[in-house]
Symmetry: none
Subunit: 225 residues, 2 copies
């Protein structure tokens, strides 16, 4: 993690830099608002610690300009002012957190961590993959290279069973259990139909995957070649 610290108190900056380094956080230091904007424009920081009181172009001004430039780096403001209105103003201008000086370094580090964690884009998709196909079980989307299509719930559950155990013979009764539950009151022919449907889906996206039948036993998902 790389962060930017903008504060005219050079001694404080250095001390902070050392404390953060010990925590594995790289900190770039600068001491004026103009410099700060210059660095922020690089758009390479996970977050920024910004002092409210700076000569010439002050912290609030830096914040405003940064947001106006479309820079969305998370910003934690530091200030000697503890007036509520100052905090409210800071937040209104686009600050993400606010800490009053003097502060404890441990609290600052904890807040930096929390802000960085919160700002990272979450990547949570139930995406199953095998060979050239990908199955998003949340969205019910089957894709293969640049083609994709939506499928039904049952089709998805059946294909999911195959992708989770590729190149493995899955007995018919196991498949029935996975898709329709252990005590389903379903005719065997229903599985036949769905095997057919899923095969059609696979060929529709021109996948190399095929469901091969093992007579008297069940089916197996394989990739050609």
């Amino acid at each position: 993690m790389r962060i930017l610290i903008i504060d005219d108190d050079i001694a404080l900056c250095k001390a902070l830099g050392i404390s953060l380094a010990a925590e594995g956080i790289q900190a770039d230091l600068c001491h004026s608002g103009d410099e700060g904007i210059y660095y922020l424009k690089q758009d390479i920081y996970d977050m920024c610690v910004l002092d409210r009181m700076l000569p010439v172009c002050d912290g609030l001004c830096v914040l405003q300009e940064a947001r106006a430039l479309g820079i969305s780096t998370p910003i934690l403001m530091l200030t000697a002012l503890s007036r509520i209105q100052d905090k409210v103003d800071g937040f209104a201008q686009g600050a993400d957190d606010y800490l009053v000086k003097p502060f404890d370094t441990r609290e600052l580090i904890a807040r930096i961590r929390a802000l960085a964690r919160r700002s990272a884009q979450p990547v949570n998709e139930a995406l199953l993959q095998y060979a050239d196909i990908a199955l998003n079980t949340n969205q019910l989307i089957l894709s293969c290279k640049d083609e994709s299509l939506t499928i039904s719930i049952k089709e998805c559950e059946l294909l999911e069973a195959f992708i989770k155990s590729p190149n493995t013979l899955l007995p018919r009764n196991i498949l029935l259990g996975r898709v329709w539950g252990a005590d389903a009151t379903i005719e065997d022919s229903c599985l036949d139909s769905y095997i057919h449907f899923v095969r059609r889906r696979l060929s529709c996206v021109h996948s190399l995957c095929t469901i091969v039948t093992v007579r008297g036993m069940g089916y197996r998902l394989e990739a050609q070649r």
Copy 2:
């Protein structure tokens, strides 16, 4: 915006609920850790305000359990303790912000806004945009190119849920939660109606966006081509 408040101080909760409502923030209230977990599991909140001191299952415990369950809702912790170590512990467990009691309601609201803003994709909280549509959630105005019209609160909240997660399947129960709250005593058909209303709004402004239904699951907002 819909948030969850978990605090055993019932009077404080009510007062907060009223203050937040005045700011256009919907708050669901609950007064124990167990309840809190139950509500958080619904995954319908933009953020959560969590008291550190709760009988039986305390705040830190709720936080831990929520994160262990994979719930990533932003959490702001409240506490009467101002010891640094307590804050550090809270952040380490996955809290996103920390406020010491007694606090000023304006500061809490500012922090709630900051956290929600940081956690949601769009930079501007009032104006949501996707593809050719823009939704002003303050003024309840939906616009598309040079056309615009005013819509109702419920329509707006539903559309807001879609715009915040475009191209993503939103299950029916999630949508019900986002618009009507976790424990709404609402018929499913009401959601049907509002999907219909919002679709009519979208076509009325000639948007390229459509709400596609994923049978048996929910709906997804997509932009044509």
